[in-house]
Subunit: 120 residues, 2 copies
């Protein structure tokens, strides 16, 4: 998967978007990202970090017992600009927040909403 296609896949996930936002401008230790992410376990966060790193979207630097992550912005191409536009847009932020809260029950969403039996 090319890095830019990986970027498209990554930004489809609210959790991944959140991680990328946190690590977009500065390096952040995994623990700090975890603390900022709400009710996820550390393990889950670590798995997201690994996936993003494997996809070439995060870079990693070890300092003592900390591991510092930062977005590899150059890997995102035009997708990076989209993210920045989203994050700068107050309306968008509100909507995201609403959706995050709304889904604080049940596991996590993967993709689009899909057909349910009697939805027609």
């Amino acid at each position: 998967m090319g890095a830019e296609t990986a970027a498209l896949a990554a930004i489809a996930s609210p959790r991944r978007r959140e991680i990328l936002r946190l690590a977009w401008q500065q390096e952040r230790p995994a623990g700090e990202i975890h603390r900022a992410m709400g009710d996820l376990t550390f393990g889950a966060v670590s798995q997201h970090l690994r996936a993003l790193h494997d996809a070439g979207l995060l870079e990693l630097r070890a300092v003592g017992r900390h591991r510092l992550y930062r977005a590899r912005r150059e890997a995102f191409g035009p997708v990076g600009e989209l993210l920045e536009r989203m994050w700068d847009d107050a309306l968008w932020r509100l909507k995201q927040q609403a959706e995050l809260l709304e889904r604080r029950r049940g596991p996590q969403p993967r993709r689009l909403a899909r057909r349910r039996k009697g939805t027609t």
Copy 2:
């Protein structure tokens, strides 16, 4: 899910991107989209169309026994601009084509590549 968030989810999928590209500028009957989509069954295409329609990303008009789909471009916001940039970019097109072919075996990819046992 807001339409724009749905748009993010939609463009993560190569099939959905392809459908959106086909229905971006003009209405297209489902059958034409199917024919343009390669080796998928009609049923599978119909399911994608339904998902995109449910998400507010496609509009639908019935004419005789045909069903004409067209992208609701206004629902995409900045994501629409990204799509247009991608489709105008010859390099992107090549990469996409390569990835489509590459995966003409096995079912379909969902997201990011993820940890495999001995990948470290």
